[in-house]
C-alpha cells in the first residue's frame, strides 16, 4: 500500500491551509516519506502538540497505507 505525494500534500493542506509543505519520498516507493510542514497553526505549540496535529490530519493513513513517515514541523 502506498499514498501519492499529491494526496499527502492535499491531506495536510486541508487541515493546514497556507502551510509550506516539503515532501521527500525517501525510498522512491511512495511508502516512506519525510515531510516538513511550516504553518502558523504551530505557533506557541509544543513539539509534541505540533506532531499530534499532523498525526490527526493523517489519521486514516498513518500506520496503515502510509508505512513510514518522518515528520518535521515549524512555526511561521
Amino acid at each position: 500500500m502506498a499514498i501519492s505525494e499529491e494526496k499527502l500534500r492535499d491531506l495536510i493542506l486541508d487541515k493546514f491551509p497556507g502551510a509550506d509543505i516539503d515532501i521527500v519520498d525517501l525510498v522512491g516507493d511512495r511508502d516512506h516519506y519525510q515531510i516538513t510542514v511550516t504553518s502558523a497553526a504551530f505557533n506557541g505549540k509544543t513539539l509534541l502538540a505540533q506532531h499530534k496535529m499532523i498525526n490527526e490530519a493523517l489519521k486514516d493513513y498513518l500506520g496503515g497505507k502510509l508505512h513510514a513517515l518522518s515528520i518535521k514541523t515549524k512555526a511561521k
Partner: protein, 105 residues
C-alpha cells in the same frame, strides 16, 4: 481498563524511562526504533525496552493508551515524550539531555 492497558500503565509507572519499540534494544526490528535506542545509549541512560511485536494486543494497546499512531514511543517518568522524530529533534537541540540528566547511569 482492560488487562493490557493496566500492564502498560504499570510498566510506565515502575520505570523511569520506557521505550515501546519494535524488537529489543539488542535487536531492533525497525529503523525508527533503532534510532531512539541509539540516542538513549549515547546519552548513557538506562531504559526498559518493551517489544510491541511480542503481542498484537500490546501493539494496538500502546497506540490507544497514548493516542499516538506509531511506534516507537518514549516515556520518561510517566510522561509521553514522543516518537522518533521528536526524540531526534530533542536530542539535536539538547533538550533531551536536559530532560534525562538525572537519569544518566
Amino acid at each position: 481498563m482492560n488487562k493490557i492497558l493496566i500492564q502498560i500503565k504499570h510498566d510506565i509507572d515502575s520505570n523511569d524511562v520506557v521505550l515501546f519499540m519494535k524488537g529489543t534494544k539488542e535487536s531492533p526490528m525497525c529503523g525508527f526504533s533503532a534510532v531512539v535506542c541509539h540516542i538513549l545509549d549515547k546519552l548513557n541512560v538506562p531504559y526498559k525496552d518493551i517489544n510491541v511485536l511480542s503481542d498484537p494486543e500490546l501493539r494496538q494497546g500502546i497506540k490507544d493508551f497514548t493516542d499516538w499512531p506509531t511506534i516507537p514511543q518514549l516515556y520518561v517518568k510517566g510522561e509521553f515524550i514522543g516518537g522518533s522524530d521528536i526524540v531526534k529533534e530533542m536530542y539535536a537541540s539538547g533538550d533531551l539531555a536536559l530532560l534525562l540528566k538525572d537519569l544518566v547511569k
